[in-house]
């Protein structure tokens, strides 16, 4: 149903606006999807609000004018559903971890096991944030005792440490390695020890443009959206 929004409230060249709250890691993908949505729906304007998932939940809790919420993890979406702030969420993508190393891989990291090496400057996300939880899962699955020099707040912070060569290795999402281009090199983590992070999306209960909002969610779940996400390195939701 890509046509869902056509007959919706703002169909006849009006100036309807929907606001999409999306995790910062979705920035480039959702900018593309929003452009597609605007192209399909004449006169509809999509406003994108990117921030950390937990920021977004807090903002919705305080009455922010959101129509769609896309989270980078289930925990934050659960907070929103618990408060009945959103309608039933749907999973629209998944992401797995990869090892990021500086260009040239100076510490010679080639496998997960190398992460436990002595004197390696390893950076992870803190266990409190989604990518940190995933990193813990990887360590457990691979039975590694990791001692990071830093437990970062977000994937972006891990990437920054790696791309500047400050850290010898970091655990980030596959999508991040792709987005970073030449700044880092990726080392794959075998599927059996990898962790999978799921991305849920939902319409916001208070939305004044419920139909358009649902249209956007549908577009993300439809082929158009899924292709865009796949280009960025996301895997489809299970």
């Amino acid at each position: 149903g890509t046509g869902g929004g056509e007959e919706a409230g703002a169909g006849d060249g009006g100036t309807a606006t929907i606001t999409v709250f999306a995790a910062a890691s979705l920035t480039s993908s959702f900018e593309q999807v929003a452009a597609d949505f605007e192209a399909e729906n004449d006169g509809v304007d999509v406003q994108l609000n990117f921030a950390g998932s937990s920021d977004l939940v807090a903002q919705i809790q305080e009455g922010a004018p959101a129509d769609v919420f896309a989270s980078a993890d289930e925990a934050n979406m659960d907070k929103a559903t618990a408060d009945d702030l959103v309608d039933a969420p749907a999973l629209f993508a998944s992401n797995t971890l990869a090892i990021a190393v500086p260009p040239g891989n100076p510490a010679g990291v080639t496998s997960v096991d190398d992460l436990a090496a002595d004197g390696l400057n390893l950076v992870l996300c803190a266990p409190e944030v989604p990518c940190g939880a995933a990193a813990e899962a990887v360590a457990e699955a691979a039975d590694l005792d990791l001692s990071p020099v830093s437990e970062e707040q977000s994937v972006t912070d891990v990437l920054a440490k790696v791309s500047t060569g400050e850290a010898d290795a970091g655990l980030v999402y596959v999508t991040d390695v792709i987005a970073a281009g030449d700044d880092v090199e990726g080392v794959e983590i075998p599927e059996d020890v990898n962790a999978v992070n799921l991305y849920p999306i939902a319409t916001v209960a208070d939305s004044e443009e419920a139909e358009l909002a649902q249209g956007f969610v549908d577009l993300v779940l439809a082929r158009t959206g899924q292709d865009v996400l796949a280009d960025a390195g996301f895997a489809p939701a299970p």
Partner: protein, 256 residues
């Protein structure tokens, strides 16, 4: 003349410490893509929004901060010390916590939310919210520098003016304000600079909507998710804008 020679050693060290990182930024700027990066629509919008909101919040800081500084410097009442410390707090509060506090206050479920709702005013997630966030973090700068200037200017000229028959308002307008103008100007520059760089409180309280609440620092943060070099290029724009504004403020001040 008059400055001990050896002072130049730590002064140079300090200057180097502050300037080297700026040099490093310039060195890492992707000059080939620079123009394209900074002329993109979203950058332009963010820059315009930043300038507009920072100017507004600086104006509010002056309007509310000057009276606060005068009251703190020129009167004494029980609890003044605590009040002064409290007014400094936005300085120490991590900006995101400041943003949360603002949400708790002006948000729909906040302290004043209902009042505002009744009045039909939606503050959070609007350009107004950006201005409020910037004003909140920038206010202490203005108050502190101005209070210092007022204290060191002393009260002798005000006493003379009063004895010539000038009412407090006249004294304030024709003696106090002109005497502390340099202090007020540097306070305003500080407040403007702080507003221009404000990030944490804005993203938390105002969100990040292109053209409405996404100021240049927010745009930089967002770019960084996907393209660290672009973020550096935009930071350089911010730096240049700041230098121009600060330089301009200095010039027009010394022209007075």
């Amino acid at each position: 003349m008059g400055v001990p020679r050896w002072l130049f050693v730590p002064a140079l060290l300090g200057a180097a410490f502050v300037l080297l990182p700026l040099v490093a930024i310039v060195a890492r700027t992707p000059w080939s893509r620079f123009l394209e990066l900074i002329t993109s629509e979203s950058s332009q919008q963010a820059l315009a929004l930043s300038l507009r909101t920072s100017a507004t919040s600086t104006a509010i800081c002056v309007l509310l901060g000057v009276p606060m500084a005068v009251v703190l410097a020129r009167t004494s009442f029980r609890g003044q010390g605590i009040l002064r410390s409290l007014v400094l707090l936005p300085l120490v509060l991590p900006p995101v916590v400041g943003g949360i506090a603002l949400l708790y206050t002006f948000g729909r479920r906040g302290l004043l939310g209902e009042t505002f709702d009744v009045l039909g005013i939606q503050v959070a997630f609007s350009t107004t919210a950006v201005v409020l966030a910037q004003t909140f973090v920038a206010m202490p700068f203005l108050v502190v520098s101005l209070e210092g200037a007022l204290r060191s200017a002393g009260r002798r000229y005000e006493a003379v003016a009063a004895s010539l028959g000038a009412r407090p308002t006249t004294v304030f307008r024709r003696v106090t304000l002109p005497l502390v103008l340099p202090g007020l100007a540097s306070g305003a520059v500080l407040a403007f600079a702080r507003s221009l760089g404000e990030f944490g409180a804005t993203i938390t309280f105002a969100g990040s909507l292109q053209g409405i609440t996404r100021t240049l620092p927010l745009e930089i943060y967002l770019r960084r998710e996907t393209d660290a070099e672009a973020a550096v290029a935009l930071s350089l724009v911010l730096v240049v804008v700041a230098v121009v504004v600060i330089g301009f403020a200095r010039q027009s001040r010394s022209a007075v």
